[in-house]
């Protein structure tokens, strides 16, 4: 198996040994077994360069940004704005003004709900989501709908875990104010046909928000080519730190939206008679940001870029195929999520064994997977399961680890069934 490690991607670029050396956390034992980290959809591990960048920030240039005239403040402001520019380039946004630092996907979605939503959604209006949304792309809209007496409509899925795209046209009405869709399902790995969705939406003059929490680290994203109106993702799922995330929004939309939080940095002038707001993107960045986090995310983006999303996708797809093949061979296992287009997420259930027991047993084999509803309860209801076990692969995973997972699963079934 080991010979397969350097997959048929460009060997020089994709040297798995070298890559694994970049991630200090991977070199440890868990319950005396080599750690096999397959919970990457929950959060990814951090390469040394990201850890060092954050360390260096605090060791050498830490200071508050934007308002200082001293050297350190100028340096940290520059580093922070450089990170913004890196992210702009990474998703090919038109302008830095369209890149807003938030604390993560959840915060980005809530920002849109509380500003765009509050301004444009009113009594009787409709918002469309899909059956496979993460709770963070359901609940903010339910809160808004409750407040505005608006309606949440749901695009359903088939048994493979694919959207019923043909139904979208019928769901859209003149009352539809926004379609908000997960780009890649965190539970199923399904890659949704967002380009088509956006096209259909725009034919009806409806803007689209993409939850890119599970796509940004696996798929090349070009917001101009996709023509999405908003895009949200989290730094920690793309090898960056926690507590930092991005909201991309088209400038003309962001311009018209009222601010989200009020405070320092987001203003232009404050008097007790009235306040004028700062320009984009600062209008949406009230208070002291997660400066170290933003700079760390910039380093993560650089790192991912150096490996290449295409190479990443290729290796991860190979891992997924190997794992899917191996798991299918095990009697009693059923894979949940068999979409044609998938990222490296493998959700499954085992006859008569609860995912939590599986998770505990696997942990003792060094294998870290996630078990539960993965914050997608409506999706669990669709598949009529309370929970699944989910192995999610990153580019630093190996074919040996696929084997470690398979062996651990077989052992678990032996004891528990």
């Amino acid at each position: 198996m080991e010979t397969n490690l350097k997959t048929n991607t460009n060997e020089k670029v994709f040297d798995i040994e070298k890559i694994r050396n970049d991630f200090p956390i991977l070199k440890q034992l868990v319950h005396n077994k080599p750690l096999c980290y397959l919970d990457n959809a929950a959060t990814t591990q951090k390469p040394q360069i990201v850890i060092d960048t954050i360390n260096n920030f605090y060791s050498t240039i830490n200071s508050n940004i934007h308002r200082g005239v001293h050297s350190l403040s100028e340096k940290s402001t520059q580093a922070y704005e450089n990170a913004r520019a890196k992210i702009k380039d990474f998703i090919n946004a038109k302008s830095d003004k369209e890149i807003i630092f938030t604390s993560g996907t959840t915060a980005s979605i809530n920002l849109v709900a509380q500003t765009f939503g509050r301004k444009y959604v009113s009594d009787g209006d409709e918002i469309i989501v899909t059956r496979m949304e993460h709770h963070s792309n359901i609940v903010p809209w339910q809160l808004l709908c409750d407040e505005k007496n608006a309606k949440l409509k749901v695009l359903q899925i088939n048994n493979k875990g694919e959207l019923l795209l043909d139904d979208l046209k019928d769901l859209i009405s003149e009352k539809t104010k926004l379609i908000t869709v997960v780009h890649v399902s965190n539970t199923l790995g399904t890659i949704n046909p967002v380009k088509e969705i956006i096209k259909i939406a725009h034919q009806n003059n409806v803007p689209v928000l993409l939850d890119a929490a599970q796509s940004i680290q696996h798929i090349e994203i070009d917001v101009q080519e996709l023509d999405c109106d908003f895009l949200a993702f989290s730094g920690h799922k793309i090898y960056g730190p926690t507590g930092i995330g991005i909201l991309y929004g088209k400038e003309n939309l962001l311009d018209k939206m009222p601010p989200f939080m009020g405070g320092g940095d987001m203003i232009s002038k404050v008097t007790f008679e009235g306040t004028t707001f700062n320009e984009l993107p600062f209008k949406f960045e009230a208070g002291t940001s997660n400066i170290a986090g933003a700079i760390g995310l910039g380093a993560a983006i650089d790192y991912v870029h150096s490996i290449g999303i295409k190479n990443i996708k290729e290796h991860e797809t190979n891992l997924l195929n190997a794992a899917t093949g191996a798991v299918k061979e095990i009697p009693g296992i059923k894979i949940i999520g068999n979409a044609k287009e998938k990222t490296s997420v493998l959700s499954f259930v085992i006859d008569n064994i609860h995912p939590h027991d599986i998770g505990t047993f696997l942990d003792f084999e060094g294998v870290a997977i996630r078990t539960g509803h993965h914050c997608t309860q409506p999706l669990m209801d669709f598949f009529k399961v309370p929970a699944t076990s989910r192995a999610s692969f990153a580019f630093y995973n190996t074919f040996n680890e696929v084997e470690q997972l398979t062996i651990a699963l077989k052992k678990t079934i032996e004891v528990l069934s």
């Binding site: 609860h354 939590h356 078990t371 309370p386 929970a387 004891v415 528990l416």
Partner: protein
């Protein structure tokens, strides 16, 4: 199998998981309650027939992990025939055991078969699984209407 893991998944637990006792519905219970563990999606529906302060019959339905199912099964066997006061006392002791708060001199014997769940104390994430049935029981006894959640 690792010893710590074997402590958690003792044979008795695996056995109760596979063939839970009192796993049925009581048609006209005097008390009943639902419990829900949002973390793992465990659900339990508990039925009781209580007469003169004594648990005459107890049963449960639901789905959950081996720990939660075995715990509910063991609880039902343990509680049948006990008074409400006795049941509450056992619960307190059980709770102390699975959270590692039972002092060493305390007689674990009084917990009988429930002692097989003591391994849970090494697995903080699983304490909720083991205690779900018990919280649901207390709710049923106290005739609380809303479902228990362990969050």
């Amino acid at each position: 199998m690792d010893t710590e893991l074997r402590e958690l998944y003792q044979q008795v637990i695996l056995d109760h998981n596979k063939s839970p006792r009192n796993f049925r519905v009581i048609e006209h219970p005097s008390h009943s309650s639902e419990g829900y563990n949002p973390l793992c999606g465990d659900t339990i529906h508990l039925y009781l027939t209580i007469e003169d302060g004594i648990v005459k019959d107890i049963s449960f339905q639901g789905s959950g992990c081996a720990i939660s199912k075995a715990s509910a099964s063991l609880m039902s066997s343990m509680i049948k025939g006990k008074t409400i006061e006795e049941a509450k006392k056992i619960f307190e002791k059980f709770q102390e055991m699975i959270t590692g708060k039972l002092d060493e001199n305390s007689d674990i014997e009084s917990l009988g078969k429930l002692a097989v769940l003591s391994g849970v104390k090494e697995f903080p994430a699983r304490v909720k699984c083991a205690s779900l049935a018990w919280h649901t029981l207390i709710n049923a006894i106290n005739e609380k209407k809303e479902a228990v959640t362990t969050e």
